[in-house]
C-alpha cells in the first residue's frame, strides 16, 4: 500500500510538472508559475489528487535548502564579506522598515497589536525560492539588482530566527522560563555555527578528497547530498534555518577544487525539489478561506504588496540601482515567502493568533507568490517597453542626412575599435547601432553614435550610403549582417564593404555576396595569444611573430580553398587535413634544416677549420 501510494504520488507530481511547465513557458509565463498552477490543479480544491500539501511542502522545502547551498558555492567568503553592508544595512531596512509600516497600518485598521506584529513580521519576509529562482532563470544573479536581492534574502533568513524565537514570548507564557531557554538556544545555535564553520574549513576538503579518490561518481553525489542534509539537520536541531546552514556550507566550499563538481551534482536535485516546492505552495492555497472572504484577502494581499513595494522603492533609490533592474528587485522582495508560512503556523501553535487568522495569512502569502510571476510578466510587457520607449524618445533615430566617407554599422566591441582608429585619425565616420542602450553608453564616452537599424534602406540612405566610400558591417547578428550586405550591394554599388565575420559559415555567406574584405573576428587576437605562448616556450619574439603571420596567411588561403568544397563535407575535411599537413611538414622541414645547419656549424667550429665567412651570412 505504502509502495503504491509513493508510485502514484510520483506519477501525479511528475506528470503535472511535465505538462504544466512547458505550457507555461510557451505562454511566456516562466517555469515557476507553471509549477504553481500545476499545484493548484492537483491540489485538494480542484482535482484532489493530492490531499496533504503541508507534508509535501515540508519535504520539498529541501529544494530551497539545496538552492541556498548552490548560491553559497558561488560566493567566496571574501565576496560575502564585501556584501556585509548591503546584507546588514539594507537587509535590516527592508525587514524592519516593512514590518514597522505593516504593523502601523494594521494597528491603525484596528487589528490587535499582537496579531498585527506577527502578521507584519511574517509578511515582511519574501520568498527566497521564487526570488533566486527568477534571478537564475533570467540570468540576473550577477547584476547589482541580483546581488542586492541576495543580500536582503540572506538577512531575512537570519531574521527569521529571532522572529520565531519571539513567538512564545508573545504568547505571554512565563517570561523567565523562556528567557533561560532562549539563552540556552542561543548558545547552542552559536555552537552549531562554529561547528559548521570550523568543520567546513578543516574537515570538509580532506573528506571530499578522500571520497573523490574512490572514483565512484555516485558516491561523490551521495556525499554532496549528505553534506547538505547533515548541515540542515544540525541547524534544525538547534532551531536555526536549514537554508542558512546550507548557505554557510556552500560559502565554505566556494574556494575548494570540488566546487564545480558539487554544483553539477546538486543542480538536478535542487531543480526537481524546488519544482516540487512550488507545486506544494500551489496546493496549499486554501481556496475555501479565499472564497469565504475574497475582499479581505484581496485587501491584505494588495495592501501588504503595496506597503512593502513602497519601502523597496525607497531602498532601490537609496541603493542607486539601475533603473531597468528596479522593477524586478521590488516585485521579487514585495511578495510574501515560505518563511511566512512557518511563522504563521508556529504562531498558531503558540496560540498568538487563531487558526482561521493563520490560514488567512498563509493564503495571502501564497497568493502573493502566485501573483509575483504574473506581475513580472506584466512588467516585461508594459514597464520595460515604457522604459525603452523613454530611451527612444530621448534618443532620436538618425534623421539628419550624413555625409561621412565611412559608415560603421554596429558599434559594439568590434565596430568601436574600427571607429576609434578612424576618429583618432580625424576621419569622419557615421556610426549606427540598433541598440539604444549601447548608443547611450558609447555616447557617454563621447563617441558620436546614432541610433538606428542599418538593415533599413531609408536609414542607410540617411546615413549617407549613396555618397560614402566604405561601409563597415560590424553587426553581431549574422542574419542582420548579411541583410545589410544585400541591401548595400543592391542599392549602393559604389560602396566598398568591410565585414566582420562571426564564424566560418558567416564568412562564406559574406564571400558569396561578393564581399572581399572579410575578417574573422577572433583570428588576430587568438594569434597574438599564440605568439605569447610560443614566446613563453622559448621562441624568439621575432620568430613567434613570423610564425603567427605565416600561419595567418596559410589559414586565410585554406579557408578560401575550402570554400569551393563547402557543400561536400568529405572533401572539405580532406582539404582541411591536407592543408594542415602541408604546413606541418613544411615547418618540420625548416626545423630539421635549422637543426642540421646548427650541427654542421658546430662540427666546423670544433674541427677548427678556418671558415671563410662571407658577410652576407655572418
Amino acid at each position: 500500500m505504502e509502495h503504491s501510494s509513493w508510485l502514484s504520488g510520483s506519477l501525479v507530481y511528475l506528470a503535472a510538472a511535465v505538462l504544466a511547465v512547458p505550457l507555461a513557458k510557451k505562454l511566456g509565463l516562466g517555469s515557476i508559475i507553471g509549477y504553481l498552477v500545476a499545484g493548484i490543479v492537483i491540489g485538494p480544491r480542484v482535482l484532489r489528487l493530492v490531499t496533504d500539501p503541508a507534508e509535501m511542502l515540508h519535504f520539498a522545502e529541501f529544494g530551497v535548502v539545496l538552492m541556498l547551498f548552490l548560491v553559497g558555492l558561488e560566493l567566496e567568503p571574501r565576496r560575502l564579506w564585501s556584501l556585509r553592508k548591503p546584507i546588514f544595512g539594507w537587509g535590516s531596512v527592508q525587514v524592519f522598515g516593512s514590518a514597522l509600516l505593516l504593523m502601523g497600518v494594521a494597528a491603525a485598521a484596528g487589528v490587535p497589536w499582537r496579531i498585527a506584529l506577527v502578521a507584519a513580521l511574517g509578511l515582511a519576509l519574501s520568498s527566497t525560492a521564487i526570488g533566486l529562482g527568477v534571478l537564475a532563470e533570467r540570468n540576473l544573479m550577477g547584476t547589482t539588482g541580483g546581488q542586492s536581492l541576495l543580500s536582503v534574502a540572506l538577512l531575512q533568513d537570519i531574521a527569521a530566527i529571532p522572529v520565531l524565537a519571539l513567538l512564545p514570548l508573545l504568547a505571554m507564557s512565563s517570561a523567565a522560563h523562556v528567557d533561560s531557554n532562549g539563552w540556552l538556544g542561543a548558545a547552542k545555535a552559536l555552537g552549531v555555527i562554529a561547528i559548521i564553520v570550523l568543520g567546513g574549513r578543516l574537515l570538509l576538503r580532506p573528506a571530499l578528497r578522500w571520497i573523490a579518490r574512490s572514483a565512484t561518481p555516485e558516491i561523490f553525489t551521495a556525499a554532496a547530498l549528505l553534506l547538505v542534509v547533515a548541515t540542515a539537520a544540525l541547524m534544525q536541531a538547534v532551531g536555526l534555518s536549514m537554508a542558512l546552514g546550507a548557505f554557510l556550507a556552500g560559502v565554505l566550499l566556494a574556494e575548494s577544487e570540488y566546487r564545480h563538481e558539487l554544483e553539477t551534482d546538486i543542480e538536478p536535485f535542487k531543480g526537481l525539489l524546488l519544482g516540487l516546492f512550488f507545486i506544494a505552495v500551489g496546493m496549499s492555497i486554501d481556496f475555501g478561506v479565499v472564497l469565504a472572504q475574497p475582499l479581505l484577502i484581496a485587501a491584505i494581499v494588495f495592501g501588504f504588496l503595496a506597503l512593502k513595494a513602497a519601502v523597496l522603492w525607497g531602498m532601490s533609490r537609496g541603493m542607486a540601482l539601475p533603473l531597468p533592474e528596479r522593477p524586478v528587485f521590488i516585485i521579487l522582495l514585495a511578495q510574501g515567502g515560505e518563511f511566512g508560512f512557518v511563522v504563521f503556523q508556529a504562531a498558531a501553535q503558540a496560540g498568538v493568533i487563531d487558526a482561521p487568522t493563520s490560514s488567512l495569512l498563509v493564503a495571502a502569502v501564497a497568493l502573493s507568490m502566485l501573483l509575483t510571476p504574473l506581475l513580472l510578466v506584466a512588467t516585461d510587457r508594459w514597464w520595460a517597453p515604457l522604459l525603452a520607449g523613454q530611451n527612444r524618445s530621448t534618443l532620436q533615430e538618425l534623421n539628419q542626412p550624413q555625409h561621412a566617407p565611412v559608415i560603421i554599422a554596429g558599434f559594439g566591441r568590434y565596430g568601436q575599435i574600427v571607429g576609434r582608429l578612424m576618429f583618432a585619425n580625424g576621419i569622419d565616420a557615421t556610426v549606427l547601432d540598433h541598440d539604444a542602450e549601447q548608443v547611450e553608453g558609447v555616447r557617454r564616452f563621447g563617441w558620436p553614435a546614432f541610433y538606428g537599424d542599418a538593415t533599413r534602406l531609408d536609414l542607410l540612405r540617411t546615413a549617407g550610403a549613396e555618397h560614402a566610400r566604405v561601409l563597415v558591417v560590424a553587426i553581431d547578428d549574422t542574419a542582420q549582417s548579411l541583410k545589410v550586405v544585400d541591401i548595400a550591394r543592391e542599392h549602393f554599388p559604389q560602396l566598398t564593404l568591410v565585414a566582420r565575420a562571426r564564424n566560418v559559415t558567416h564568412y562564406y555567406g559574406l564571400m558569396d555576396r561578393g564581399v572581399k574584405l572579410i575578417e574573422r573576428e577572433t583570428l588576430d587576437s587568438a594569434l597574438m595569444s599564440a605568439r605569447s605562448v610560443l614566446e613563453l616556450l622559448g621562441y624568439e619574439r621575432h620568430q613567434a611573430r613570423n610564425l603567427a603571420l605565416r600561419f595567418r596567411r596559410h589559414s586565410v588561403e585554406l579557408l578560401e580553398t575550402m570554400a569551393q568544397h563547402r557543400n561536400d563535407q568529405g572533401k572539405l575535411i580532406a582539404v582541411a587535413k591536407q592543408g594542415r599537413q602541408q604546413l606541418e611538414q613544411m615547418w618540420a622541414r625548416e626545423r630539421d634544416d635549422a637543426e642540421a645547419r646548427k650541427k654542421v656549424r658546430a662540427s666546423l667550429v670544433s674541427a677548427q677549420q678556418p671558415a671563410n665567412q662571407i658577410d652576407e651570412q655572418a
Binding site: N546, L549, R550, R553, M586, R589, E590, D593, A596, R597, V600, R601, L604, Q609, P610, A611, N612, Q613, I614, E616, Q617
Partner: protein
C-alpha cells in the same frame, strides 16, 4: 610577355613626388611588371616563392627606391635577405639569376654637390655603390650604371617629367643601350664550400 621587373620600395609613397612619378612611368611601359613592395607586404611578410617566380620571368631587374641613410629602405633589404636565398641565387646550385641584369633607379635628398669630399656627405656618390654591385655580382648579375636623381626635394616638375620620360624610354629600349656594349661580363664569384654549411636543402618560405 613582361621581361622587366621593377621592384619599388618607398615606405611613404603617399608623400613621394619623385618616386611615385617614376613608378608610374615604369608601369606605363608594356613589358614592365611593377611590384610595389610596401603595398604588397605592409606587414613585412614577404611571399618568397612569389618574388622568386617574378624574378625568374624577368631579364632586367630594376630596384627603384629613394636612398635612405646611404642605402635601401628596410623592406627592400628584407627582400634581399629573404628572396636572394642561399642555394637559389648564390652558393652551390644557386644560379637562378645568373646572366640577368640589375639596374638601380634611385633618388637622393642631397644635391650632387653634397656628395663630395668637401661637402657634408663626404664621399662621391659612387662610393656608396659597392654593396649593391657586389650583391648583383654574387648572384651572377651585371650591375648596370645606376640612374640617379639628386636633390629630389627641389627638382622642378619639368625636370622630373624629363627624368621619368628617360626612364620609360630606356626600359622600352633595353637591352639596346649604347653603354651596355662597353660593359664587361659579370665576373664569377664561386662561394667556397667551407663558407657555409652545405648539403642542406634550400630554405623555403
Amino acid at each position: 610577355m613582361t621581361d622587366v621587373l621593377v621592384l619599388t620600395a618607398h615606405p611613404h609613397l603617399e608623400h613621394s613626388r619623385v618616386n611615385r612619378a617614376l613608378m608610374q612611368a615604369a608601369a606605363a611601359v608594356d613589358r614592365v611588371e611593377v611590384r610595389d613592395l610596401y603595398a604588397l607586404y605592409p606587414d613585412y611578410l614577404i611571399d618568397v616563392a612569389a618574388e622568386q617566380d617574378a624574378l625568374l620571368k624577368a631579364q632586367l631587374i630594376v630596384w627603384q627606391h629613394p636612398l635612405h641613410w646611404y642605402h635601401m629602405p628596410p623592406l627592400m633589404k628584407l627582400w634581399v635577405d629573404e628572396v636572394l636565398a642561399f642555394g637559389w641565387s648564390y652558393g652551390p646550385e644557386g644560379h637562378a639569376l645568373r646572366g640577368k641584369d640589375l639596374w638601380l633607379i634611385t633618388s637622393t635628398g642631397g644635391t650632387e654637390d653634397s656628395y663630395r669630399p668637401d661637402a657634408y656627405n663626404r664621399y662621391h656618390f659612387d662610393a656608396f655603390m659597392p654593396p649593391y654591385e657586389q650583391t648583383a655580382t654574387l648572384c651572377g648579375m651585371r650591375f648596370l650604371p645606376p640612374m640617379v636623381l639628386h636633390g629630389a626635394h627641389h627638382v622642378s616638375e619639368a625636370e622630373l617629367t624629363r627624368h621619368a620620360h628617360t626612364l620609360a624610354e630606356r626600359l622600352r629600349r633595353y637591352p639596346d643601350w649604347p653603354e651596355l656594349a662597353a660593359l664587361e661580363d659579370c665576373v664569377a664569384c664561386e662561394v667556397p664550400v667551407t663558407a657555409r654549411p652545405q648539403d642542406l636543402p634550400v630554405e623555403s618560405a
